[in-house]
């Protein structure tokens, strides 16, 4: 017997080769997945990095009666042809609101038109030859340079690429996430608690369980239709509002939270419950004092992953009118809002090519947020997990 194990029989060699092939195949699968990921990151970072900088010019801005009547006069010619019109047009209103500015001249860094920005970054642009010359001259004296693009984080959407930013979309995303969290988390955890701790194991609860698992796998766009029917048509919540969006996403996230919360509750050993009951604790005390605190890290991890998924979701929001042009940050839950992924989608559809770098930068921001959320989930699990 022992001889046959050691001998290099052909069957043995065959099995050995098969083993090697299998290992190589699985490694190739991993390599393929990794190379897709590397390609994706390379593509997005190389496209999006340039959006972190924005061409600006150091000029004297004249606040006076003349520029109140015609905002192009606020910056001297010919530099005013290079400055973003989106900046100049706001000056008259600024002067009306702050009359003390009238008669003053302020030297400041002013945002330039996207064509100049793209020209300095070596990207396709439609800058006229005479303006190119002017830009080159100003660059050599240091009056024009690429500065950190803080506007990308402090502006809302704009039809002028140089002014377009992610602020309103980010705030919209936060509003939505807040609603989703306060609705889905308690309902999800309570459902899981009932199903795990109280519900009898009968036909009805089995049907419910199958349905919850099914709901978690339903294409997300269907939740958009559900949200449209329930919240907008029946309850009359305003279209495009953060409230409607958050509630819709809460519907979508519920099954994920229920499933992960149930798994976390199930992982708490029965002996804990028995010990508590044995010492005279009521059911409620058992759950509240012992089971829930032990299951909490698991519940939290699952919920964070569910919320991260909701944050990247676009399809259901399309149906309830959140794929809209909303440059103002929402001031409340009933104001029109848009979200980061919707903002990225809108930018990729713009005809002006300077938007493509903004879209890529938006993707980077979204990725960073999702990565940190998932990182937080991993950290919480590592930090608080109890092993039995």
């Amino acid at each position: 017997m022992s001889e046959s194990i050691l001998s290099q029989s052909s069957a043995h060699q065959k099995r050995f080769r098969a083993e090697k092939r299998f290992k190589a195949l699985s490694m190739m699968a991993l390599l393929l997945a990794a190379s897709f990921l590397v390609f994706f990151f390379y593509d997005i970072i190389s496209k999006g990095a340039s959006a972190m900088q924005q061409a600006e010019v150091l000029v004297d801005v004249h606040y006076n009666q003349e520029s109140l009547d015609n905002y192009n006069k606020a910056v001297e010619s010919p530099i005013n042809k290079l400055v973003s019109r989106g900046y100049l047009r706001t000056l008259p209103l600024k002067m009306k609101d702050h009359p003390e500015l009238l008669g003053t001249t302020v030297q400041e860094w002013v945002v330039l038109d996207s064509d100049i920005d793209q020209y300095l970054k070596g990207k396709p642009n439609r800058l006229k030859a005479k303006h190119k010359k002017l830009v080159d001259e100003l660059v050599t004296v240091g009056a024009i340079q690429l500065n950190f693009n803080s506007g990308f984080f402090t502006n809302g959407d704009s039809k002028m690429p140089e002014l377009a930013g992610i602020k309103s979309a980010t705030i919209g995303s936060l509003y939505l996430l807040f609603i989703t969290m306060i609705v889905a988390l308690p309902i999800g955890v309570m459902t899981a608690l009932y199903l795990e701790e109280y519900a009898p194991d009968n036909r009805l609860t089995q049907v419910i369980e199958v349905n919850i698992n099914n709901l978690a796998a339903i294409p997300s766009i269907l939740f958009g239709l559900l949200g449209l029917a329930i919240f907008i048509s029946f309850f009359g919540t305003p279209r495009s509002s953060a409230l409607t969006g958050g509630l819709t996403l809460a519907l979508m996230t519920l099954p994920v939270i229920i499933i992960s919360a149930r798994a976390a509750l199930r992982a708490v050993p029965g002996s804990i419950r028995e010990a508590a009951v044995g010492l005279g604790a009521s059911r409620w005390q058992t759950i509240w004092h012992h089971v829930l605190p032990l299951a909490f890290p698991g519940i939290l991890t699952g919920s964070i992953i569910g919320l991260a998924q909701a944050m990247g979701e676009t399809a259901p929001l399309l149906i309830i009118g959140m794929m809209a042009y909303v440059p103002d940050s929402p001031g409340g839950f009933l104001d029109a809002a848009t979200v980061l992924p919707a903002q990225i989608y809108t930018w990729t559809g713009e005809s002006i090519r300077a938007y493509s770098e903004r879209a890529a930068a938006g993707i980077l921001v979204l990725l960073a947020i999702l990565l940190s959320l998932n990182g937080l989930a991993v950290w919480l699990r590592k930090r608080f997990e109890t092993r039995w």
Binding site: R85, G86, R89, T90, P92, L93, P124, S158, K159, M160, F235, G236, T237, P238, R239, S240, S241, L243, G321, M323, A324, Y325, V326, P327, D328, F333, L334, D335, A336, T348, G349, E350, S351, I352, R353, S356
Partner: protein, 354 residues
């Protein structure tokens, strides 16, 4: 007990505040994705230069916009809908039956539909008939007496003077207004006068309704619906040199150094030719205003006046920089007058002229 009260109170507050949302101070606009860039440009201008809130604009497509717009007259419905085609009489009927009695129609400019290609190709001139033969699902047979499934794979099969180049189109999907316009201006324009199609309709009006104005585009892989994102079509044209793409003028203008446009009937899609109507594949852009909302929503009059200002829709105006093709001066004045008088659009208007 206390906690219960708080919970009930907070639920009640959310419900109540949802009800209050009816009174709003922000203009709501829906409609065509072709008009969307122009409308949002003006909306941003309104937000940046006045104390009014920036209007919210949702790009739903012309048809989707009409449906939302005509849902009712209450303040929970949109105030304005954009359209890349005229309102249909069916849509006006729907509006009226839902209580939207008074609507003003405003024409803002033109959009040319460009048949674009990679600029590595030489200049090419196509007629509408050649385009029809290239994209229709069924075309007249060699003897011209019956219809056959489209056999053409190369342009020189349609017309010997065209190059031996594979026929490939990347164009908008069925949901798009651009596709509607292409079907109307190229296909229906010809097929409604071609006996080989209409004879079938007259033979059996019930069954062969589609042959009255035939506009079915082939689905054998020659015409590839490329989604609503026109940037995608541009990308395809850069890879596939033999292909043509169908999209609005503004996307062509933005990519002018790497794409060239086919002349249609000998006319190149220049703004002047589109504006004069000389370039055959062009259409008007509209928006429709709910007159009952004008005095209830702050800033409506300001928004429309800003839109119709010469600085916006005029020659060399801001919107022409982003691809809108201006109307002739007289028509711009007419648009402004219609809004100033809140002229109501009637069924006769929609039926009379194109």
């Amino acid at each position: 007990m206390n906690r219960k009260l708080i919970a009930i109170a907070s639920v009640a507050t959310i419900c109540a505040s949802a009800g209050v949302a009816q009174a709003r101070d922000q203009i709501n606009i829906v409609g065509s994705s072709t008009v969307y860039p122009f409308a949002s440009y003006v909306a941003e201008e309104l937000g940046a230069t006045t104390h009014f809130k920036t209007p919210v604009i949702e790009s739903t497509g012309s048809g989707g916009g009409m449906k939302l717009f005509c849902e009712g007259d209450g303040l929970d419905t949109p105030d304005i809908t954009n359209a890349s085609r005229r309102m249909k009489d069916k849509e006006l009927t729907l509006c009226e039956s839902n209580g939207v009695k008074s609507i003003t129609e405003v024409v803002i400019g033109f959009d040319g539909i460009v048949i674009a290609q990679n600029n590595k190709n030489g200049a090419i001139n196509l007629t509408r008939n050649e385009l029809l033969m290239a994209v229709a699902a069924e075309v007249p047979s060699k003897d011209g007496k019956s219809l056959v499934a489209n056999p053409y794979q190369y342009w020189d099969q349609i017309n010997a003077s065209l190059p031996h180049r594979k026929i490939v189109f990347y164009g908008p999907p069925t949901s798009s207004g651009t596709r509607d316009a292409f079907e109307d201006l190229v296909m229906k324009h010809l097929t409604k006068h071609m006996d080989v199609y209409t004879a079938l309709y007259h033979a059996d009006k019930e069954k062969n309704k589609k042959y009255k104005k035939y506009k079915t585009i082939r689905t054998d892989g020659v015409y590839v619906p490329a989604g609503e994102n026109d940037n995608l079509i541009v990308q395809k044209l850069l890879k596939d040199e033999s292909a043509f793409g169908i999209f609005g003028y503004s996307f062509y203008e933005e990519n002018i150094e790497r794409l060239s446009a086919a002349n249609v009937e000998g006319v190149s899609p220049q703004p002047s030719a589109i504006s004069s109507g000389e370039y055959p594949v062009s259409r008007s852009l509209y928006f429709y205003i709910k007159n009952s909302h004008i005095n209830q929503i702050k800033g409506m009059t300001d928004y429309v006046n800003l839109f119709l200002n010469e600085k916006m829709i005029g020659e060399g105006g801001n919107l022409s920089d982003i691809g809108l093709i201006p109307l002739p001066k007289a028509e711009r004045d007419a648009s402004r007058a219609r809004f100033a008088n809140h002229t109501q659009v009637t069924m006769d208007d929609l039926k009379s002229k194109k």
